[in-house]
Amino acid sequence: MRKKKYVGISSIALIVIMVVLFFSMKNAPFDDSSNQSEEQAATVTTETINETEEQTATTTNEKNNDKKSVTAMEALRLGYSEAKKQTEEEPLLISITSTDDTSIPQERSDGADGTRDAWNLEFGSKKGNVLIYIKIDNGVAITTDVKKHDKNLLEKGHYAISDIQIDSSDAVKQAVEMGMKPGNPAISDDWIKGYHFTIGGYNTDPNSSKTRLLLRVMGISPNSPNRENESLRMSIFFDAQTGEVVSATEMTGYDKDGNTMWKNIELKH
């Protein structure tokens, strides 16, 4: 008897629920379908964004995993081999500079061991009849341009690999010992992310057009305040042919006209 009573109540409740559901659907607004679409669209978009973010993250990670960094000398040897393919002349170095690969997130640790994943090199010949531009990207040397001149009026190459007796890995160790800090990639105005390196001929004597082969390490001064816009930079120059530190300088700020002010750092001999 009691069982029958429960079945009856349940049936009535079920009927009531169905009636309520029926009327609620019937009274639904006309734009329900569009709302539904928006909802769906939102869902799809979110899914897409999430998917894209995931893909980007995956790609970035893959890139980071694939990031192959080399020292200045390793880059120089790679570049030299590539330059040899472009000319019968002996390729002589004009300059080599590490650069930022902005397609990959930069890290504060970039260059801390003297290696970078992107380098630019310029080679010329003794005669001045060929000029070769090469980039090193993730350990691969790529010729980006070759120029030739019948009258030998291109910029001449000057330095053989054997002229360079110090590598960026050794130079950066000394730079860190002297207090140099890495550039912070989060500061967009700073072009130095981590540590950067250049080897080339500099005009160290204003009275002469002769150049001196130097290796430069660039980073941030230990005295730089933790500013959000621009840090104070620091450079240390090594004689590339002897490995000795030639000079070190740190930026101290700007004068009233906006010119950068630098001071020499006393070297400990």
Binding site: T99, N120, Y133, D145, W191, G258, T260, W262
Partner: protein
Amino acid sequence: MKLFKAVTGVTLSSVMLLTFASGAFAQPLSQVSTGTQGASVTLNGQTTYFSGSQIERLAQVNNVDPNSLREAIEAGPDADGKFSPFSKLPRLDNGISEAQLVENSKQKLSSTGESLIQPAETSITSSQFASTTIGALAATTTTKSNQDSTAYNATGNNTANGNPPKLGIVAVHRVKDITSGSTSNSPVIPFGTVLNITNVDIYLPNSGYRDIFTVDDTGSGPNRTSYWIDVYFGTDTTSAINYGVTTVSYTY
């Protein structure tokens, strides 16, 4: 009588020879009158003198006022420690076309006689390899067309980026120089950026032609275009002055 004829003939021949040797007939048709005084500048203990006619000719080729050019040469290095007189001078508004100024550029010679500017497609030949920018491996390439370029000599100062200067570098404006209300001393193109000049190759004194330059300095070019570049010319003052103002386009 024969002796008289011979003497007269020799005399006339000598006069004609002297006239030709004096270069009276070799003067260019566009030679301007020399109403401007000469000027000299001393950099690193070396004095370079420009005569009035040289200044007038330089002013004409680059379309600037000769007296302003003379004053800019006499003024010597600026507050940045750079000698770059053409970076301070406005071009005259006298209807001279850009095409004429480009044509004038062909007359610009280095102190050792090389043409300072050559069209990128002539004389220097690119090989079959693609000519691409070798700067930072950026995802996008920026192009700056029809920008002023001038040349400067350093006076022993390091660059704004803290380096001794080297051939192959350029100076650019600071952000505050071209952006109203800005106080930023950062260069308008970041230090270390590699610029690939697309329309000309530039002859650097004691070096040779190149079309790849690195931003390593800032300068003052109050009358120049926003993305003006000042090319470092080492110690060769004559070549830097002869370079004048040259229109360049570049990518980075």
